[in-house]
């Protein structure tokens, strides 16, 4: 099938498969999946600028579908999402400035890739360690905590960083502590979600992709939000970052709308599977599988970097993408299996 804007011939079955994998993983983990989609499109022969632009546009569309689906399940905390967005927008501009400065110093490409590998390695290892730890009871209290950082999260929620309210001329008193009933959090300082949004925006802007990958663990392990709510709220945030990216890429004519719509059809089908699975699969299992995906992403970026340096054999770059697609596909099959297994056992798991 010929895609006139990208001027490339691609097998539509492969695009549908890629869309299906992206939709499933996005609905299940609450991340955009930028690293997967861009790599996949590059392997299919799509020119690099179009692979990035088309990927971002697909992420925007797929996040809209997944957010609506998670909202239906009561997993989206819009209040928290809007507070985070107020931190994400300035962070994206700060990230642009940092990239500009790094480019002047001639460090942008390599610094960003090294930072990406380190951050993903730490995150992935921690998530896997935590999902193993949270299966065991706390040695001090004897109680099984939802995450190993539950005590730390409670401290973060109780932080008193500002006065109770702020007086703004014309508007009047504005409260600086809010209740987030969907996330089971009471009286949290607005600076906490603002800082979380800022941090996620900074990573999204600096690393190109990965805003959702960073935000999801921060929401769970630092702020102490239930896993399913973190997934839904994260997707709401991804709509914003994806939309900004889409606008910029479409403005430079680096998006193939035909390719996006085709993959979106398959992604919408995958998102049904991914979101439905979050209702039945245990939160610790979701986090464990997310950890595996993050580590495979780390390995793929590492292989890509070695290939760019010209140290290893030439096939390393291709191997990196096939590793990502292979792990993504295998996890999709596992999600389908877990969903079937849970359906046979039936009771819906609680939000934790």
């Amino acid at each position: 099938m010929y895609f006139p804007n990208a001027e490339v011939l691609v097998n539509p079955a492969l695009l549908l498969l890629l869309g299906l994998i992206l939709g499933t993983l996005s609905g299940f983990f609450g991340v955009g999946g930028g690293f997967l989609i861009t790599g996949g499109l590059l392997v299919f022969g799509v020119p690099a600028p179009f692979a990035v632009g088309t990927g971002l546009t697909l992420i925007m569309g797929s996040s809209i579908i997944n957010t609506l689906k998670h909202r239906h399940l009561g997993n989206v905390d819009f209040k928290l999402g809007i507070l985070m967005v107020s931190g994400t927008i300035p962070a994206l501009f700060v990230a642009q400035w940092v990239i500009h400065e790094l480019k002047i110093a001639g460090l942008a490409e390599s610094t960003i890739r090294y930072a990406y590998v380190v951050v993903l390695a730490i995150l992935g290892s921690f998530i896997i360690y935590d999902s193993w730890r949270s299966r065991l009871p706390n040695p001090e209290t004897g109680v099984r905590e939802t995450t190993s950082t539950a005590a730390f999260s409670r401290k973060v929620q109780q932080l008193r960083l500002t006065p109770d309210s702020l007086r703004i001329p014309i508007i009047g008193r504005v409260p600086l502590y809010v209740d987030l009933p969907v996330s089971n959090i009471q009286n949290i300082c607005v600076l906490v979600p603002f800082s979380v949004g800022f941090l996620a925006g900074l990573f999204a802007g600096l690393l190109g992709a990965g805003g959702g990958t960073i935000l999801m663990p921060i929401l769970i392990y630092v702020v102490g939000i239930p896993t399913t709510v973190a997934i839904g709220t994260d997707l709401f945030q991804v709509i914003l970052t994806g939309s900004m990216g889409t606008f910029l890429k479409a403005f430079s004519n680096e998006v193939d709308p035909m390719m996006v719509v085709l993959m979106l059809v398959a992604a919408s089908m995958g998102s049904q599977l991914g979101t439905a699975a979050t209702r039945f699969v245990e939160a610790t299992r979701i986090r464990f599988l997310f950890g595996i995906t993050v580590l495979s992403g780390c390995l793929a970026v590492g292989l890509e970097q070695v290939s760019n340096l010209g140290i290893g054999p030439g096939y390393l770059s291709g191997l990196a993408t096939f590793l990502l697609l292979g792990v993504g596909g295998a996890i999709c099959l596992l999600i389908a299996g877990l969903l079937v297994q849970a359906q046979l056992r039936k009771p819906v798991v609680s939000k934790n």
């Binding site: 889409t246 606008f247 919408s268 049904q272």
Partner: protein, 61 residues
């Protein structure tokens, strides 16, 4: 035919890049909403069919 389609898209995007970018965003957003609605309808119909098979008396006067 391929060349003419490509040049048409190139001209459209180069002439009005802001409108082109907004058009793409609107098309993708509307497609997403339609697909969400479609799958919701399919799932509801499937559930309705399954529940009416389980309880055949329900729904009959």
């Amino acid at each position: 035919m391929h060349e003419s389609l490509t040049s048409f898209l190139r001209d459209a995007s180069a002439g009005n890049p802001i409108i082109w970018a907004l058009l793409i965003m609107v098309v993708v957003s509307i497609t997403s909403l339609v697909l969400y609605g479609f799958w919701e309808l399919v799932l509801r119909l499937t559930l309705y069919r399954l529940s009416s098979r389980k309880n055949p008396e329900e729904g009959t006067p």
